[in-house]
């Protein structure tokens, strides 16, 4: 009895073994080596992988050359964290930010009168029965000419919400996008447009009419930005300054087809993505990043504890530092 029981068990165990499973014992039919060939559409080996032995050192800082304006001579070199100006392009985040800004820019002041707001008497227009015509209540009815509007626009707030950290990331992504494409030109502080001395003198002396002044500025700025390859033919240029610079802002107002000038306060992500290039003062760039890095620095301050997440921003490398050549 016991022997039979053991036999059953061993049979059962054999059934469970790998060899007993038919699907596993089916021999794989491998083609002979001679007939093997590479597929016609075989992709080349990608170069994105790297050797394990090679140390992975991602870029942590990126250089920013500060130019003088308008001759664009390189004057100094600053470094910014890659998290500020070298972020990967995230179109989804930029889209969120632009939509968010658009929503919050809507005035939402459209309003039509409902039947309860239309002025006038609420007398019944004609008797309910006997006239042979349709029954009518009062003349404010939406069906009547001059009546109220049913489901018309009402004053409302179209504003939507976006997490602050996402918005800040979008801002820096927009800057990074410009930076990577070489469309972010940083200038020394005090960015303004130099207009010719003789013209300014004549304008001040009242020798030129406003039309002539405008025509001159239009021609002058057009030629200047054209020579710099910054004008209309090259997608216009956005100048961003810390405060209103009269010459620059007046000139860009007149010669608007070649670009625009904005104060830092008026800039948003959409502005950074429009036009061919962004020309920004060094300190304004720093300020922009300072205002939009909530995802990089903590807002919780503990006494005696340093904010370890804070990264380098606008560190001047040249001409101040004395670093030996490596």
């Amino acid at each position: 009895m016991a022997g039979k029981g053991m036999r059953c068990l061993s049979e059962a165990m054999r059934g469970l073994s790998l060899g007993a499973q038919t699907c596993r014992t089916v021999p794989v039919r491998t083609a002979p080596l001679i007939s093997r060939r590479s597929m016609a559409t075989e992709a080349p080996v990608s170069k994105i992988t790297r050797s394990v032995a090679e140390k992975w050192t991602p870029i942590t800082t990126v250089p920013v050359t500060v130019h003088s304006f308008p001759d664009l001579a390189p004057r100094s070199l600053e470094t910014y964290s890659a998290k500020h100006l070298y972020l990967p392009l995230r179109r989804d985040i930029l889209h969120l930010a632009v939509v968010y800004e658009g929503d919050n820019t809507r005035q939402g002041t459209a309003q039509a009168k409902t039947r309860w707001e239309v002025a006038g008497s609420h007398r019944k227009v004609r008797p309910q029965k006997g006239s042979g015509r349709a029954r009518v209540g009062n003349k404010q009815s939406p069906l009547q000419r001059g009546g109220g509007k049913s489901h018309g626009p009402r004053n409302r707030d179209f504003g939507t919400k976006l997490n602050r950290k996402v918005y800040d990331l979008a801002w820096r992504t927009a800057l990074s996008y410009r930076y990577r494409r070489g469309e972010l030109i940083v200038t020394e502080d005090g960015l303004d447009l130099p207009l010719p001395e003789d013209f300014l003198q004549q304008a001040q002396d009242g020798l030129l009419t406003r039309e002539l002044e405008d025509a001159f500025i239009e021609k002058y700025v057009g030629e200047m930005l054209g020579a710099m390859q910054w004008g209309k033919a090259h997608g216009r240029t956005t100048f961003i300054t810390g405060e209103e610079r009269m010459n620059l802002f007046t000139a860009m107002g007149v010669a608007g087809e070649n670009g625009r000038a904005l104060e830092l306060e008026d800039v948003d992500v959409k502005d950074l993505l429009e036009t061919g290039r962004i020309v920004v003062e060094s300190s304004v760039l720093k300020e922009m990043i300072k205002r939009h890095r909530s995802d990089l620095v903590t807002s919780i301050f503990l006494p005696g504890q340093k904010n370890t997440k804070e990264t380098t921003m606008g560190t001047v490398v040249y001409p101040s530092s004395k670093v030996s050549y490596t």
Binding site: D71, L72, L77, E188, A203
Partner: protein, 426 residues
């Protein structure tokens, strides 16, 4: 109402960067505000052009202010009243269409006599980018050498003026390019780009060798660029300037005096001489090498410098600055990050700009040349184009003109009225 002066003609922003007095108290942008009005009033009276940065010393020397702006005549001439006209042939016009348009200030600045001269933008680099690959390669090599020398001299404070002069200088005389190119670059012990040590020098360490080579190269370059030659050039320029100025003054006085013909002739002669002198100075100051010269130099340069790594950020910055000065190619910072060797740098600069249109791209790449049934047009092929290809357009045009019909478009002729009847639309 207009506020005068609408255009602020005064503050040189760079001069007042150091004293930010316009501070917005409410926002953090205060730190960004850079101009002030009070401290610079005296400066504003003297200097009306607005510059955003301190003018470089060399820029000021080379700067000739734009001139010749001509305002419109201020005195207005009133037309004669119709009842005062004595001419019996005068017939008053019935409407404005018959009248000829005279005067007006439309396009006043389009006239070069009114607009003046010297208003074109002057950048840091040359006015036109160099596109010749051979010249570009020599320029890149020269930039690498000079930037390397400048970079090595960074920690020596007394070398600052020489370094700045080196970085800011143009092509210089032709011999300078040849001298620079003789300095060799190669890969160092860590695979980075260094100045190649001379083979016959027997020094103990690689560092010493390098230091020696750097010093040598620096001496060579300094001798070539500064200070004697520059001083000479500057002197020559000043001489020419004063000469021109004195000539101009003389010219004006002579004109008013109505001088004799002989005087004018001699004047012209001296003028041409001065011009020649200016050109000569210019040539000796900045000689952009020709393709043949570049090719000859390239044989000397070789390819050893293209592979070694370029890592140092300041070195890269110097290179970019030199290349912009020599060739007019501005290397954006975003690209500078990825540039890690001379070869990559060269490729980046030599690469022609991306075609704006597909047709241009196809033309540049010479695509579809072998396909007889494929033609590429830069724009849509219109029915008129087809007629032109066929050679029938001329005839059609003549016939249309003969019948008084519009050649292009429908003029004011509406669609066929029958169409409305058929479709039933209003």
């Amino acid at each position: 109402m207009r506020h005068l002066p609408r255009l602020r003609g005064a503050v040189s922003a760079s001069l007042c960067c150091s004293s930010p007095t316009h501070i917005r108290t409410t926002t953090a942008v205060a730190a960004v505000a850079t101009t002030s009005s009070s401290s610079t009033k005296t400066q504003s009276l003297q200097r009306r052009t607005l510059s955003t940065s301190l003018p470089r010393s060399d820029a000021v020397e080379a700067y000739t202010p734009p001139q010749g702006l001509k305002p419109p005549p201020q005195a207005q001439k009133a037309a004669v009243r119709p009842d005062k006209i004595t001419d019996p042939a005068y017939e008053p016009a019935q409407d404005g269409l018959e009248l000829e348009e005279v005067g007006g200030l439309d396009g006043w600045w389009e006239n070069p006599d009114n607009y003046g001269v010297g208003r074109q933008w002057v950048g840091y680099g040359p006015a036109e980018k160099i596109t010749d690959p051979a010249v570009l390669e020599v320029a890149v090599y020269r930039a690498l050498v000079e930037a390397m020398v400048a970079r090595r001299q960074m920690n020596t404070p007394d070398a600052t003026p020489a370094r700045d002069a080196l970085l800011e200088s143009g092509w210089g005389p032709a011999a300078l390019t040849a001298t620079t190119v003789q300095t060799k670059l190669c890969g160092g012990s860590h695979g980075t780009l260094i100045l190649k040590p001379a083979e016959d020098v027997e020094t103990a360490t690689a560092a010493e060798q390098e230091a020696e080579v750097t010093e040598e190269a620096k001496e060579q370059l300094e001798a070539a660029v500064t200070p004697e030659q520059e001083a000479e050039v500057v002197e020559a320029k000043e001489e020419v300037k004063t000469a021109v100025a004195s000539e101009q003054v003389a010219e004006i006085t002579e004109e008013t005096k109505e001088e004799a013909d002989t005087g004018v002739a001699s004047e012209q002669e001296t003028e041409t001489e001065v011009k020649e002198e200016v050109d000569a100075t210019k040539d000796s100051a900045d000689h952009v090498i020709s393709t043949e010269e570049a090719r000859a130099l390239l044989k000397e340069i070789g390819h050893e410098w293209k592979r070694p790594m370029i890592k140092d950020l300041i070195y890269k910055y110097f290179i970019a600055k030199r290349i912009y000065k020599l060739t007019g190619h501005r290397i954006p910072d975003g690209k500078l990050v990825a540039i890690n060797s001379g070869g990559v740098l060269l490729k980046e600069i030599v690469k022609p700009p991306k075609a704006k249109k597909l047709a241009e791209e196809i033309e540049n790449k010479q695509l579809f040349q072998s396909l007889p049934n494929v033609k590429v047009f830069p724009r849509r092929v219109t029915p008129i184009d087809k007629e032109k290809m066929m050679g029938r357009w001329k005839v059609i045009r003549e016939e249309l003109e003969r019948r008084g019909l519009p050649v292009i478009g429908t003029a004011n002729i509406d669609n066929a009225i029958e169409k409305k009847w058929v479709t039933g639309t209003k």
